[in-house]
Symmetry: C2
Subunit: 313 residues, 2 copies
Amino acid sequence: MHEITKRILAGDVRGAARAITCIENDYPERSQILQEIFPYTGRAKLIGITGTPGAGKSSMVDCLIGFLRSQGLTVGVAAVDPTSPFTGGALLGDRVRMQNHALDTGVFIRSMGTRGSLGGLSRNTKDAVRVLDAYGCDVILIETVGVGQSELDVMNIADTTIVVLNPGGGDSVQAFKAGIMEIADLFVINKADLPGVDKLETEVEQMLDLVKHDAPWRPPISKTISTQNLGMADMWNEVLRHQAFLESSGEWQKKRAKQLQEEVLDIVNYQMFVRMQNFVQKGAFADELSGVAQRQLDPYSVAEKMVRTWFPQ
Amino acid sequence: MHEITKRILAGDVRGAARAITCIENDYPERSQILQEIFPYTGRAKLIGITGTPGAGKSSMVDCLIGFLRSQGLTVGVAAVDPTSPFTGGALLGDRVRMQNHALDTGVFIRSMGTRGSLGGLSRNTKDAVRVLDAYGCDVILIETVGVGQSELDVMNIADTTIVVLNPGGGDSVQAFKAGIMEIADLFVINKADLPGVDKLETEVEQMLDLVKHDAPWRPPISKTISTQNLGMADMWNEVLRHQAFLESSGEWQKKRAKQLQEEVLDIVNYQMFVRMQNFVQKGAFADELSGVAQRQLDPYSVAEKMVRTWFPQ
């Protein structure tokens, strides 16, 4: 067993942090650690939290962490920021939050930035969440900004997805409705002391009538005021209610099984890509690639030739 | 030569539409058509247009199309909406625009939705843009919503990227600054008749001072009022100035060559993934995958075994 695996399973916070660094940088020990911790995962509650910037997501998460700690639960946070591929993904408000909980060993907060491509963010986040799970976090919050494709991929990791709305957000529901309605298991109207709450609630209900009219789970709407630390217990109750629904539903087991199988193909695909890149860096198909760069050959024919060579089956 | 290729090169609009359908659905003729049209591509100006929802992007594009037509240029539009993987990507305002230009054979508008994953959107968009290029469009506008990772991948196709800002947008610059600043070649403040224009302009300039202080190209800021059809000629001049800058810069040629080579590997990777999925559907590694689904095996070990079998080199 790898030294880092031992440290994770022993609840060593620096071991967990080190493992996530290995994941983000794709160090050689990544695979071994993940193989070894896998049997110790699947225990934590995975909660996705998303919403447009400015919806007060960060302060709501901060509040929720405090509530969960008061219930004696340990909390991991993977703060994912796919909109900042260049900065490495420093989430707004993240540093503040880290300071609030810096002295609490029951809270582990980690920012996940975009490194690489090809689904790298959701793969890395999934693996980091497994580390937090094996490390012993009871609840893992997976927080993202917005609802682009990357965020949807990331939210797919969560069992329960919370969408945070802001009564002052105006067209936020309209703008993002397609994606949001499909992934939300629970809506939270944060800043519920501001005007516009009833209107927003009605809008969301109307959209749910349209989209979820025959779904077995209709997302409830919770209201919170994170600046006053209000509404957390109610919101958490809705989360637990959703998780109970999931467990009683056979579909959920099927979905999880299917996701694990898809993950295998995703890893294979990534590994093959890495190998392929190595070959190319060592000079494989150099003439053909140079021809493409000069537009003398088309990329499609050259790609076909490579596939026939490398994957002839 | 494929029948559809002939029709594209003959300027048959339905041939071009048919080719894009082949691309989006990954029909068998896709590859042949793309190989055949490749020598006829690389001529059109590729302009990316992005901005947060509500920035007036759609109406600005509508206006720009009118301006370009008045200059005797033919225009293709690939409207990409990665935020709507479930609806197939019907962009807000898209239908209206289509009606405005429905009778003009010099305008070709196509919505690109999210089908599949693994960079499918940017690959499909790139290929659709090639079709529009070979079909004879002088200018191709690639329009996206927001600036998530998918949008950045899509914008990478463009030579010049325009970021549309809204003086009433409040925190839009703040929220998206990291991504936006890196990809923008030109900022456009649309709705420039609204209050807040000077403030927004100052904010953008300040951010440019920070991010682009030593860059060879400093993105200019244009102002437009698309409801009054104002500012289009100035904006287009800035686009042309940027394209002249690109052509005089050797770096750009290198970047394009590198992108073409990366595209080859991207296609190879996708093709290998498709083959792999076919094998799995036919029962390859069924026991191992079933073990993963039941959490008796970990996905990482099974993936490694598959890679060793399929890609032993």
